[in-house]
């Protein structure tokens, strides 16, 4: 016997990072609206962990799908020891497993991040995780947009666009990813401030943007933001529409808000935009990146003709006041209602029945609401009137 450890996985197979957040969703059934910082309380209220069962359901469906698949795709699992992955994979009958992370003591958010870091250094094509919005954020904090992620829905809230509608549907997406049917799409990562949520306020924020394999029928539709098949084309149309404005108005200051729809406008015009920041463009040229409120005010001082291009947070519909607070009431007042250009793909609007303005200045919010409807640019020379909820 030598000490050489033979690798479990050959290089021909896709390498899937797999992790379960064992405490995900634990607060849900006991009325805690989440699990951040309340695990002990949840256990005291009699909660039992469910994430492992959701993961097992996904893996069973996936295994059945692999068995029946004409192309016999295969993968190997890069995972964590015990309840965070390995035990459930073994139970489901999988053999090609490499354990690259061993948690110590009780699991918390830092375990998720350390595990994903270990996956990345071992090399993975995709990270599959079982959890909720919080887990998604932790995973994405490590992967960024470089490695795609896919969530098995097991948290209390799944507002982000990276989850299948059910464990079984997540398995279908995974199969579609392995056999090359589903391409990667952009998805917004959203999360709710759980403290505020427990106090009865819904404050959803856009945190990040991830890449995820996508098939429109299988992803969660309620409170969910993800691209449909035509999203690329819809975004390209929106970008074309705005590019025409850049050309027609060389003197105008264009402020570009956060999110992937607005970022596609920057792509079309050949400059890189900060994904979560507010950038400024004059005559098709970038003149400011990730600007603070004071910088925005300086720019509007020198450029009285200004347009603000923003996209609502999917499902919740906030155009201003969530994830873009640098666009303060003072900034927006200088631009005025006619200068605010809201853009969104038709697919996003289908899941976003109303839009909202929350600048912190009720008079300005009412002014923006106008007579209760706001035109949203949905394509090249195409707009949709969308109800504004005050």
């Amino acid at each position: 016997m030598t000490n050489v450890e033979l690798p479990q996985c050959g290089s021909v197979n896709r390498r899937i990072g797999f992790l379960i957040n064992p405490i995900a969703g634990i607060g849900g059934r006991v009325g805690l609206k989440g699990s951040d910082g309340v695990v002990d309380l949840a256990l005291a209220r009699g909660a039992t962990p469910t994430a492992g069962k959701r993961a097992a359901a996904m893996l069973r469906a996936f295994r059945a799908g692999l068995r029946d698949h004409p192309l016999r795709p295969d993968c190997c699992w890069i995972t964590c020891a015990g309840a965070m992955g390995e035990a459930v994979l073994l139970d489901a009958g999988f053999e090609k497993i490499e354990v690259v992370y061993r948690p110590t003591g009780t699991s918390d958010a830092s375990d998720t991040r350390r595990a994903v870091r270990a996956f990345l250094s071992a090399g993975v094509d995709l990270v599959v995780f079982c959890g909720g919005d919080g887990t998604a954020r932790d995973v994405c904090a490590e992967t960024g947009r470089a490695t795609p992620i896919l969530g098995v829905p097991a948290g209390v809230k799944m507002y982000s666009g990276v989850f299948g509608v059910s464990p079984a549907r997540t398995a279908e997406i995974l199969l579609g990813y392995l056999d090359g049917r589903f391409e990667l799409a952009d998805a917004d990562l959203l999360d709710v401030d759980e403290e505020a949520f427990r106090a009865g306020r819904l404050e959803v924020e856009l945190y990040d943007s991830a890449r995820t394999p996508h098939e429109p029928r299988l992803v969660q539709s309620a409170k969910q933001v993800i691209e449909d098949q035509d999203a690329g084309s819809a975004k390209a149309q929106i970008a074309e529409h705005i590019a025409e404005q850049f050309e027609a108005r060389p003197e105008t200051l264009f402020l570009l808000g956060p999110g992937s729809t607005v970022a596609s406008i920057a792509d079309r015009n050949g400059f890189a935009k900060s994904l979560l920041g507010v950038d400024a463009v004059v005559a098709g040229r970038l003149v400011g990146v990730d600007l603070r409120e004071s910088e925005l005010l300086e720019l509007t001082d020198t450029h009285p003709d200004a347009q603000l291009i923003v996209s609502p947070i999917g499902a919740q519909g906030f155009v201003l006041g969530r994830g873009n607070q640098q666009l303060s009431a003072t900034v927006v007042r200088r631009i005025g209602r006619t200068g605010v250009v809201v853009v969104a793909t038709p697919a996003k609007l289908d899941q976003t029945p109303v839009i909202r303005f929350d600048t912190g200045d009720p008079a300005l919010d009412a002014e923006l609401a106008g007579d209760g409807f706001f035109p949203v640019v949905t394509g090249y020379h195409a707009r949709r009137l969308v109800e504004v909820r005050v």
Binding site: R181, P346, G370, G379, L385
Partner: protein, 485 residues
């Protein structure tokens, strides 16, 4: 079982027809035209006949079964229309013949123009548009021309309700105008509040389908028209759903300024294979001079009174020009003429009433199993949801399973305002027995959706081609078949 192509069935040396011996001196083809690698199939006549017979048996049309494809009005095409359209006087006529020698075809066109104007309550009609969408496009060009003449060429917005036909935004873009989509209210009507917010001096007009694609009559249509007119806009009616209204209500009387008809829907000209369509455009007196050129006019001879009635082609004074090289799809014009002559206005009215009755019958029979989001008396079609039974069952699954039961699937996933929409239009020509057969199949499918969703998801089971991977078909289309050498 898939049918191989003729190339795959080819066997060297076979021949379908034995050519007679040459009875003239032979002559060799020039060398530069000769090829050695001409891979033509070689088959017997029987092989050929069976090949095409098999393919024809796999076709599905109104003549083979119930075809409730919403918004398409797949009704029976009376054979008399076919007989008349095949008369040599029509088939042998050429549009470049002298006017004197084509008085018969011109008379048919003139009468159809007049009848369509009368049925819709309009002043004048052009038969030129070769399809509904071309009728829309023609109308938009006329609306712009009319507004330019009034010094209002700066207007650019076309308002379109979210329950409109999908071609409306496309026609708008073709005409170089911008679309502003107006949401529906909770009853499925266009939202008056939103419309009010949208009506301003940028508006060219509103394109409205009534009944809309939910199969619902716009209950505030008069107020809608009034709002648009008040801001200087025109109202265009998409006549694709006229099978609910012909003989019952005249859109022109409501104040609609322009409307196209689909002869291939309401007036029963065949269109199962995708055409040819025919989309005549009817307009109000205000717009009559802008119609495409030419239109057919009757000339009353001054000396002999109307004894010597003749027909000629005329260009309206402010015409936007030609929309096609000659006179539209003439064969469809003859069939539609025959259809109206056959039924008369009373017959058209009766057909509309039966179309509405049949659609309401199906809605009521199905609504307990297939939720109807806007559950009120509908017109000639209705929309229910197809995501029934178990989680993950989609409208597509229901549609594919219907094929196994011998029915053409309804329109699905449209209109977009209803998720998993199934848009069902039975038409007036179907019997109670057929409708009941369809209901029975739909209820059985809903039971399967509960008990055996996997069976549904794999449907169709009896078709020559099983469930297609539509995502892959769109992403990785194979657009040509190569001969295996």
């Amino acid at each position: 079982m898939s049918e191989p192509t003729l190339f795959e069935k080819s066997a060297a040396g076979r021949c379908a027809i034995a050519l007679p011996e040459l009875d003239v001196p032979g002559s060799a083809l020039p060398d530069e035209l000769l090829r050695d690698d001409l891979a033509l199939p070689e088959l017997s006549q029987l092989d050929l006949v069976r090949h095409y017979q098999r393919l024809s048996e796999r076709s599905f049309g109104v003549d083979s079964g119930f075809y409730p494809l919403g918004s398409c009005t797949m009704k029976y095409n009376p054979r008399i229309g076919e007989a008349l359209a095949r008369l040599p006087g029509f088939t042998d006529a050429h549009p470049l013949q002298s006017i004197e020698s084509v008085q018969g075809p011109l008379e048919i066109m003139f009468r159809l123009q007049s009848w369509l104007a009368e049925i819709g309550g309009f002043a004048r009609v052009s038969l030129q548009p070769a399809a509904g969408a071309q009728g829309e496009f023609t109308a938009l060009l006329m609306m712009r021309a009319w507004q330019r003449d009034r010094g209002e060429g700066h207007r650019t917005q076309i308002l379109i309700p979210d329950s409109a036909h999908g071609t409306n935004p496309a026609s708008t873009s073709m005409a170089g105008l911008s679309v502003l989509e107006i949401p529906s209210d909770s009853r499925g009507n266009i939202s008056l509040d939103a419309l009010r917010a949208a009506c301003d001096e940028t508006v060219v007009g509103l394109m409205i389908t009534n009944p809309n694609t939910l199969g619902l009559f716009e209950q505030q249509i008069e107020e809608v028209i009034e709002l648009v007119h008040r801001c200087g806009g025109l109202v265009y009616g998409d006549g694709a759903n006229m099978n609910a209204l012909a003989g019952v209500l005249r859109p022109g009387d409501l104040g609609i300024d322009l409307m196209h008809y689909n002869l291939h829907k309401t007036f029963s000209t065949p269109h199962g294979g995708g055409g040819p369509g025919s989309g005549p455009l009817a307009v109000s007196d205000e717009l009559r001079d802008y119609l495409p050129a030419p239109v057919v006019e009757r000339v009353v001879d001054e000396e002999h009174g109307d004894v010597e009635t003749r027909y000629r082609l005329e260009s309206p004074s402010k015409s936007i020009g030609r929309m096609c090289s000659f006179h539209g799809n003439f064969g469809m014009i003859v069939r539609a003429y025959a259809y109206i002559a056959l039924h008369g206005i009373a017959g058209l009215r009766e057909n509309s009433m039966h179309a509405v009755l049949n659609a309401n019958y199906l809605r009521v029979m199905l609504r307990d199993n297939y939720p109807v989001p806007f559950d009120r008396t509908n017109m000639h079609e209705f929309v229910c949801r197809g995501d029934v039974g178990s989680e993950g069952v989609s409208a597509t699954d229901v549609c594919k399973r219907l094929i196994d039961y011998g029915f053409h699937p309804p329109t699905s996933h449209f209109p977009l305002v209803v998720p998993h929409a199934l848009m069902i239009e039975p038409t007036e020509t179907e019997s109670l027995e057929t409708l009941d057969g369809f209901v029975a199949a739909m209820l059985e499918i809903e039971r399967e959706a509960r008990d055996a969703p996997e069976h549904l998801r794999a449907a169709p089971h009896t078709a020559p081609v099983k469930r297609l991977d539509e995502v892959r078909a769109a992403r990785q289309p194979i657009l040509r078949s190569r001969v295996q050498s």
